[in-house]
Amino acid sequence: MGQECIRFSNVVKRFGNILALNNVSFSIPCMGRYALLGPNGAGKSTTLKILAGLITPDYGEVLIKGLKPGTMEVKKILGYLPEDPMPYRAMTVRENLEYIAALRGLPNPKERAEEMMEMFDLKEYENIQAGKLSRGNIQKLSLALVLLHNPEIVLLDEPLNYLDIPTQEKVINELKTMKSTFLISTHIMSIATRLTDHVIMINRGSIVWQGEINQLKAMAKEDEPIESVVARLMTLGG
């Protein structure tokens, strides 16, 4: 196992009376591709927000390459896409990309914006305000904004939401070529199998299973789809 890039140790997070995460622990090696799998309300998005440094855990230790989330060093190497993201509504696609590139201090924001628009087929919308784009194009723009700085660690919350099938394929291929550490939150098993090789299964704020996707496949009975295995594990864990 290589160097550890993400450590999430005994994390507890409450929102009032709701226990969102209950003593959750896992670690991800650098260059690892992990899926965070679980039903709605399982605690997936909370886990990603804590890793992105947007919210703080009530208890436990969280480290990104040995550093605390939210520090400048981590911000420079991390890319986080929330669920249902909304870029800067009043700014055009191009302006959004250039603006965030300039804020990140990337050299030549104009050129980088151009590259990202090419990558995500956004060129024809470059002068359209983000608030007026279709939901699918907003998702593409958001992915472009997150990947602008070639982050070493990528946290994606339901990245393929709203995308049509050809775009999903394009995004999957782009993500596969990246040499980064991935933690992808999803409740769709096929996305997990296409983009990752490890699964952390979470339900009601607790980890119910973690391991390789191949192990998961091996647990299936004859002709049993992998989704049934996942459902079975989640039911047992829940």
Partner: protein
């Protein structure tokens, strides 16, 4: 059925606690004014203000978008579910208008009854109720019409309203000058508008406009180069400012952000400044024309200070409502984001208002100009910081129901605006009152710029809302 529909529509936009708060605040604000009305002779100034606000509300549907998901009074849930129900379209229209009318009336009771009661006494309540019907019905009548027709219809009504100022007893607002015909004509106008709205209401037409694509190219886009985060944010704000944000248009809380070119804004405020300069220095100057009643001069003077505060409010009320915090916070810390955001907004707004402030300074002296120059930035800090914390907006929703906190937040703005007017008036009687006001404003606003914990908690609340 209609009653059930109205009840459902009202409660789908405003919760019960909010309704209770609105009624309680309405009673609290109107009772002392009723005593004032029946015990003292009222100045005509209130009549002018009453007419001004009625015209403002009549004009409001003109400024609301007629395409896309911001059609006033309609929320996406109406399109998705309500319009699918087997309810007669006329009943639906009536339900929507009546529910809008009820909520608008309650809001008016809290917000503007203080301006109507001194002139009309108890009759202010039926007047406000009748006025509350104008914006929603006008909105339903005109939403599908071309802009020219919308402007023509609206201005016809505005002209009829405004004719009360010329002493026309047959204006729907002539009651402000003692003509009882006004009440009858206002009711007649309401009946006419309601009839037209019901006959013109068309769910299919509304839905097709609601879901119409809004893609429209921005002609002049901004180019960014690598710099400090503050400079990058300042460049953005110096190119365009957003207007709108947390606002209520016809019951449904609508969060609209419009891109407004800063150069146009500078021009517009220079013109307004010149108008005030002429009014204060030449037409109504107590020195040049001592026969003119001082009350008019002081009213214009008060407006000359209130207007930049209102402008400031419109520019900052969208603060953090649509900001991609998930992106910003992956670049800078919460305190850095708050500082960069607020300071860049302050500079941009001061640039827009600077010619206006200079002109007011020429009209009223340097101390009044200093009041605006220092008071506005401090107020920006105060309004942005408090609205971010106590009136957070979930960008994914776009619209939210009116809540008790959003109503109470509206009163926060009163502190800097009225304080500034008091401070400026204080200049006439002694500079010390202005100094006290500015020190007070500094004490309540500046600590926000240094509190890491405050902004961390504020943004965490936003993040967990999404």
């Amino acid at each position: 059925m209609l009653w059930k529909l109205v009840k459902f529509l009202v409660l789908s936009r405003v919760g019960k606690p909010t309704l209770v708060l609105l009624v309680a605040l309405g009673i609290l604000t109107s009772l002392p004014l009723l005593l004032f009305h029946y015990n003292k002779e009222t100045s005509l100034t209130y009549s002018y203000i009453g007419i001004f606000f009625t015209i403002f509300f009549t004009l409001s549907p003109l400024f609301a978008p007629q395409k896309g998901s911001s059609i006033p009074g309609i929320i996406k849930s109406d399109m998705d579910f309500l319009f699918q129900l087997p309810i007669d379209s006329k009943e639906l229209a009536l339900g929507l208008i009546i529910s809008n009318m009820i909520v608008s009336f309650l809001i008016f009771m809290v917000g503007i009854s203080i301006l109507f009661i001194p002139s009309l006494g108890l009759l202010a309540f039926p007047t406000l109720f009748l006025i509350s019907l104008i914006p929603p019905s006008l909105s339903v009548i005109t939403y599908s019409l071309p802009l020219k027709s919308r402007i023509s219809i609206t201005f016809l009504i505005v002209l009829w309203d405004a004719s009360a100022l010329m002493g026309n007893p047959f204006s729907p607002l002539s009651m402000f000058f003692g003509y009882y015909e006004g009440y009858f004509l206002l009711a007649l106008l309401d009946v006419l508008l309601l009839y037209l709205a019901i006959t013109r209401f068309n769910t299919v037409g509304l839905a097709s406009r609601y879901f119409a694509p809004e893609e429209k190219e921005v002609m002049k886009s901004i180019s960014f180069s690598t710099s400090t985060p503050f400079m990058v944010m300042l460049i953005k704000n110096l190119h365009f400012l957003e207007i709108g944000g947390r606002g209520n248009i016809l019951t449904a809380q609508t969060f609209i952000v419009r891109r407004v070119d800063v150069r146009w804004l500078i021009l517009v405020f220079t013109i307004i400044g010149v108008v005030f300069l002429v009014l204060l220095k030449i037409i109504y100057s107590p020195v040049v024309n001592p026969t003119v009643i001082n009350a008019t001069y002081y009213m214009i003077f008060a407006y000359s200070i209130l207007i930049p505060y209102m402008v400031m409010f419109f520019f900052v009320i969208s603060a953090f409502a649509f900001e991609p915090l998930w992106l910003y916070l992956s670049i800078m810390t919460p305190l850095e984001l708050a500082r960069n955001y607020i300071l860049s907004k302050i500079i941009a707004i001061e640039v827009v208002l600077l010619p206006y402030i200079i002109l007011i300074g020429i009209a009223e002296g340097p101390i009044v100009a200093m009041d605006l120059l220092i008071g506005i930035p401090l107020s920006i800090i105060f309004v942005i910081s408090t609205s971010a914390r106590f009136y957070p907006v979930n960008p994914a929703q776009g619209r939210v129901n009116m809540t008790p906190s959003s109503i109470l937040f509206g009163f926060i703005f009163v502190i800097p605006a009225l304080g500034s007017v008091a401070g400026a008036f204080g200049v006439i009687f002694g500079v010390i009152s202005l100094v006290i006001y500015l020190v007070f404003l500094a004490i309540i606003s500046l600590p926000f710029m240094f509190s890491e914990g405050y902004w961390k908690k504020t943004f965490e609340r936003y993040i967990t809302m999404i």
